[in-house]
């Protein structure tokens, strides 16, 4: 991975981002934070609806359809800006424990959010709002929110990978 990161570092796009890193990197990071803001805000509002704390005048399906497209759009924004950040600083991103743990949790969080939408579409006619009263669904909603919070923590820890001690691949080089 370190060899790959170093190879990527030498490619044209990476050199371009590094040449302009003083303003490009913080700008891309800002858009990246905007994206996670949209996801966290949307998952939070959807959780409030599932737990019965807000938006009770809307059906579960309606509540989901309000935020679903924004979550998917934000995932694309995060993927794009995240990719640019990797290209710009390959070693800083890829040669860390935090980054790969974060990617694993992003996969879990994305599957949970998209899977919930699919489940709603399939079962809503039979179950309707009873879905939101199932303890399993409520627990899954809270767990999904916790996963996205953990994604934020791990994202920040990419800059502090030494906190993982021997787990950090940087410790091996």
């Amino acid at each position: 991975m370190k060899e790959f990161a170093e190879w990527l570092s030498a490619t044209g796009p990476s050199v371009f981002i590094k040449t302009h890193q003083a303003w490009l990197i913080p700008s891309i990071q800002t858009l990246h934070i905007v994206g996670i803001g949209v996801i966290l805000g949307s998952v939070f509002m959807l959780n409030l609806r599932i737990l019965g704390w807000a938006g009770q005048d809307l059906s579960l399906r309606q509540a989901h359809d309000r935020f679903g497209p924004w979550i998917v759009g934000a995932l694309w924004l995060l993927a794009l800006t995240g990719l640019l950040l990797i290209v710009g600083e390959p070693v800083r991103e890829l040669v860390t424990f935090s980054f790969w743990a974060k990617m694993a949790l992003v996969a879990v969080g994305a599957v949970a959010v998209i899977g919930f939408g699919r489940m709603l579409r399939r079962h809503e006619p039979q179950w309707g709002d009873a879905l939101a009263r199932r303890p399993g669904v409520r627990a899954a909603a809270l767990a999904t929110f916790a996963v996205w919070l953990a994604v934020i923590v791990l994202g920040r820890l990419i800059a502090y990978d030494h906190v993982w001690g021997p787990l950090s691949p940087a410790a091996r080089y």
Binding site: I36, G37, G41, I152, R156, A159, Y160
Partner: protein, 207 residues
């Protein structure tokens, strides 16, 4: 008590030192700060998008605003608390840092924008709460809000690239030789003691 002595007192406080000395506290404060601001931004964005007619036009403005904004304040409190704790670790430097000042200015303007919207624009809200596009004043408030909050995030990120974190103790070099520490190390080879104000950053700037 002038501002300079307040800043110096903050820098010298036990809380400030405890955060500086910890490997985990500062990164965790940053992480919780991002959680708070992500929720602040996300919940405000929902109202701004509704005012601009870009989302949920069939839902009353009052409902879109009412369901999210009380949580905005809780998240904002979390961001202020974690931000204040980070500030104390290097108060004098942050206070004189341009991106930091810009961030505070933009937050103040965002607050002013909110006050004007609340006490002026919103008074006619029953006429455009639902079914009608909000007036130009509401749309201007939404654009200002979006621009200022994205600016706040950007300035916050910029702080991280202009302030190297103060550290009381320099981190050990990656290739530290434990034998030197544990048995009969040559005192002359020991790393020099590090001054608080010139200490090496715990991580690369911009971390």
């Amino acid at each position: 008590m002038d501002i300079q002595s307040i800043l110096e007192a903050l820098d010298a406080s036990g809380l400030s030192k405890a955060i500086r000395d910890s490997l985990f506290l500062f990164p965790m404060l940053e992480a919780v700060h991002v959680m708070g601001l992500a929720l602040v931004f996300g919940t405000i964005l929902a109202v701004d998008l509704r005012l601009l007619g870009l989302a949920w036009s069939d839902r009353p403005v009052s409902k879109v605003a009412g369901e999210g904004l009380k949580w905005t304040w809780a998240a904002f409190a979390l961001a202020v608390l974690t931000g204040a704790l980070m500030f104390t670790t290097n108060a004098e430097v942050y206070f004189h840092n341009t991106p930091f000042r810009l961030k505070m200015l933009m937050m103040a303007l965002a607050g002013l924008n909110m006050v004007v919207f609340h006490f002026v624009t919103q008074r006619s809200m029953d006429r455009w709460d639902q079914g009608v596009a909000p007036p130009a004043g509401a749309k201007i408030a939404a654009v200002l809000s979006l621009a200022l909050w994205v600016g706040v995030i950007g300035a916050g990120r910029w702080i991280g690239f202009t302030v190297t974190r103060a550290a009381d103790v320099a981190p050990p070099p990656a290739d530290v030789n434990f034998d030197d520490f544990l048995g009969g190390a040559d005192p002359a080879a020991a790393p020099p003691s590090v001054d608080v104000n010139t200490a090496a950053p715990a991580e690369a700037p911009g971390g």
